[in-house]
Amino acid sequence: MALHEDLISSFAQWSPALASGIARDTPLLTSGRVDSVALFQLLLWIEGRIGRPLDVTTIDMPAQWDTIDLIVAFVEREKRA
């Protein structure tokens, strides 16, 4: 739960346009709500949680990072890997 809240508040910091209306199942990438710099900040946020750099070209982002729930699940998986 803490990770979900941390990520939602991080999105609000990265872009004021993302400060309202993000739920855990809100499509972020496929809807186009998150793009450009916020995506790179998301990458750094994920790397900070898993403790290592991530080769982004190996990730199917629309499938694995589209919602808060999916991103947190991704982080949990990567932490265990």
Binding site: A17, G32, S36, L39, D55
Partner: protein, 377 residues
């Protein structure tokens, strides 16, 4: 606010140039010439393809698609593909769906025009991230390399230390600063004269491309069928007219014939961390000819920081680079699989099936990527 995506027409040119100048980070004063060259004078797509987002009576975003022509396989089958570049969105409209709106419109239009794939060979980290999020795939990392002179290495160490000292970071080079690159390396090249080589040939450097001789050399050298840009005289003549770059061409000549060449490129103005100087193409009839060209160019030009790509090079050429002092660069980006060449199918096919004339697009081993094929060159 309602956003519409429209096609380019010449009446939008002034507004577009102004928008790009104000919004694009580099702020190149050559914006108009650069856009004219890349899109209007492009040899492969006759129509200028800009996808322009407007809202509130003004431009808030744009993406360009310029023509490229790739070949692969034993038969050198060639195909024209659009290449995405110049993605600019007004900062006020980022993370608002404008990027997605522009790209969806662009990709649908390119599919209607009959193209099967679209490429991006020059994307920075933000564009790469946005593209991957939209379903693009990497065709392979390009492995940037850099050769730093001894004084430049010392400066790098000092800068790194300064950045760590509170309050002194302002003395380090700002990452957003525009940089006018030194003209001295090319002055040294212009004063070089003809240099005899141990293999019996000689090397000269010139300011203009010998496009016919270069194309002929590429044509007669063995070709392994990997995906590469067509380098015929038409392409080379267009390519080396890039108005934001200057070039110097080193030719290896033997008995009146060009048996090798190496091209140095200089950004007159660039923004860190982009390096001002690169080797953008390098060909030779033998390992020793390529080695002599590299040795000559680095010895004569004495460039403080010279970049190139290692992806696609043979083991022999990688060894030549290492002996000349080149080292892997952009390590933070390399760990993340960047920079890379991006591909997207316009037909909705599964990525594992993406191919050009039977050559798999997402297999890095099937590519011969070079800086000259990209707008970094």
């Amino acid at each position: 606010m309602s956003v519409e995506v429209i096609r380019y027409d010449p009446s939008l040119k002034e507004e577009l140039v102004d928008f790009r100048r104000v919004t694009y980070e580099t702020g190149f004063p050559e914006s108009r010439d650069y856009l004219d060259w890349k899109y209007e004078q492009n040899p492969y797509i006759g129509e200028t393809l800009f996808y322009i987002a407007r809202a509130g009576g003004r431009i808030i975003g744009m993406r360009g698609m310029y023509g490229t022509k790739w070949e692969c396989g034993r038969e050198r089958d060639a195909v024209v593909l659009p290449c995405a570049d110049d993605f600019v969105v007004d900062p006020e409209h980022r993370n608002s769906g404008v990027v997605t709106l522009i790209m969806r419109d662009a990709l649908a239009d390119l599919a209607r025009r009959g193209y099967d794939y679209v490429l991006n060979t020059s994307g920075g980290r933000i564009t790469v991230m946005s593209s991957l999020a939209a379903g693009w795939r990497s065709a392979g990392a390009v492995e940037p390399m850099v050769r730093r002179s001894t004084p430049e290495r010392a400066r790098q160490v000092v800068r790194a230390r300064v950045r760590r000292v509170p309050g002194l970071w302002r003395l380090a080079r700002s990452k957003s600063a525009n940089l006018i690159s030194s003209p001295e390396p090319f002055r040294r090249v212009d004063a070089m004269g003809r240099v005899a080589t141990p293999t019996g040939g000689s090397i000269v450097a010139e300011t203009m491309p010998r496009v016919a001789a270069m194309a002929l050399l590429v044509e007669r050298l063995p070709y392994d069928g990997r995906i590469r840009h067509v380098r015929d005289a038409e392409y080379l003549a267009w390519r080396y007219r890039n108005p934001i770059r200057q070039y110097r061409f080193f030719y290896y000549e033997h008995e009146g014939r060009v048996d090798g060449y190496l091209v140095l490129a200089r950004y007159i103005e660039c923004q860190l961390p982009t390096l001002p100087f690169h080797i953008v193409d390098w060909e030779g009839a033998s390992d020793s000819i390529r080695a002599e060209l590299l040795q000559c160019a680095t010895r004569v030009a004495r460039i403080a920081e010279l970049g190139t790509w290692a992806a696609g090079l043979s083991e022999a050429d990688r060894a030549h680079l290492a002996r000349a002092g080149f080292e892997p660069a952009d390590m933070e980006m390399r760990k993340r699989g960047m920079p890379c060449i991006l591909v997207k199918s316009l037909r909705g096919a599964a990525p594992e099936s993406w191919s050009l004339h039977g050559t798999r697009l997402l297999d890095p081993a099937r590519w011969d990527p070079r800086l000259v094929y990209t707008m970094h060159g």
